[in-house]
C-alpha cells in the first residue's frame, strides 16, 4: 500500500466503525462518540485528498467541520443532561415516551 492509500483506507474503516456504533450501541454518550468518530474520519479523508492533490480547499473545509463538530457536541451533551434529568438514565431504550 502506498502512503497515499493508507489514510484513505483508515478513514473508511473509522467511518464504518462509527456507523456501527451509532447503529448498535444503546448508551447515548457512546452514540455521540460514534458521531465524532465519523466526523473525524471524514476530516482525515479530506485532508489526505487535499494533500495528495495539491489543493488547500479540503483543509479549509476541515476547519468548518471541526467547528460544527464542537457545536454539535455541545448541543448533544446538553440534550443528554436533560435526558438524564427526565428519565434517570442515558440509555436510548428508556426514552420512548413518544412511542405511544
Amino acid at each position: 500500500m502506498s502512503s497515499a492509500l493508507i489514510p484513505q483506507v483508515l478513514a473508511l474503516f473509522l467511518f464504518s466503525t462509527g456507523m456501527l456504533m451509532v447503529l448498535l450501541r444503546r448508551n447515548s454518550v457512546v452514540l455521540l462518540l460514534g458521531i465524532e468518530l465519523m466526523l473525524n474520519a471524514a476530516n482525515l479523508s479530506l485532508v489526505s485528498f487535499a494533500h495528495d492533490l495539491g489543493r488547500i480547499d479540503g483543509q479549509i473545509q476541515v476547519f468548518f467541520v471541526i467547528t460544527i463538530a464542537a457545536a454539535e457536541s455541545a448541543v448533544g451533551l446538553s440534550i443528554l443532561v436533560n435526558l438524564y434529568r427526565n428519565f434517570g438514565a442515558v440509555t436510548t431504550d428508556r426514552a420512548r415516551t413518544m412511542q405511544g
Binding site: I6, V9, L10, V30, N40, V47, A50, I66
Partner: protein
C-alpha cells in the same frame, strides 16, 4: 531513516485497534479515552503529511476541548459500567457488520482504481516558498472563504447559546 509508509501503517493499525475497543467496550470512559487516542493518531498523520496547522487545530480543539466536554459529561452523569449493548450472534449485529464490510470493500475498490484527478498548484515546495502552511491557509480562509467563515462563527455562537438554554434549570 524509516520509510514514511511504515510509520503511517503503524499509526493506522493502532487507530484501527482503538476503534475496535470503542465499538466493543462496555465502559463509556474507556470509549472516550480510545477516541482520544484515535484523534491524536489522526493529528500525527496530519503532521506527517506536512499539514501542521490542521494538526495543531485537531489537537487543541478536538483532542482538547471536545474531549474535555465528553469526559466531563460522563463523570457528571456518573455513567456506570453497563451490560453489553448487543450480542455478536444477534441478527442485528450481523446485518450491521455485513453492511459495514460491504461499505469498506466497495470504498477500497474505488480507491485503488486509476482515476486521473487534476492536481492543484499547492505542492509542498510552493507552500514553503509562500511562507508555510499556516500563512497559506490563513490567506485563503480570510479572502476566498470569508463569508463561510463568518457564517460558521455565527452558527457556533447560536449553538452555544442553545446549549446553555437547554442545560440550565428552569427558573420559576
Amino acid at each position: 531513516m524509516v520509510d514514511i509508509t511504515y510509520i503511517l501503517g503503524a499509526i493506522a493499525l493502532v487507530c484501527a485497534a482503538l476503534a475496535m475497543v470503542m465499538l466493543f467496550s462496555k465502559d463509556a470512559l474507556t470509549c472516550a479515552m480510545a477516541l482520544l487516542g484515535i484523534l491524536i493518531g489522526t493529528a500525527a498523520i496530519y503532521g506527517l503529511q506536512g499539514e501542521h496547522f490542521v494538526a495543531t487545530v485537531q489537537l487543541v480543539v478536538y483532542a482538547g476541548a471536545i474531549m474535555v466536554l465528553f469526559v466531563f459529561s460522563i463523570m457528571l452523569l456518573n455513567i456506570k459500567r453497563g451490560d453489553a449493548d448487543f450480542r455478536i450472534t444477534s441478527g442485528r449485529f450481523v446485518a450491521a457488520a455485513l453492511s459495514a464490510v460491504v461499505f469498506l470493500v466497495a470504498g477500497t475498490w474505488v480507491l485503488v482504481q486509476k482515476i486521473d484527478l487534476e492536481k492543484g498548484p499547492w505542492n509542498h515546495e510552493t507552500v514553503i516558498g509562500l511562507g508555510g502552511n499556516t500563512r497559506v491557509l490563513a490567506h485563503s480562509l480570510f479572502t476566498e472563504h470569508f463569508v463561510a467563515f463568518e457564517a460558521v462563527s455565527l452558527a457556533l455562537m447560536v449553538a452555544l447559546v442553545g446549549a446553555v438554554t437547554l442545560a440550565k434549570r428552569k427558573i420559576d
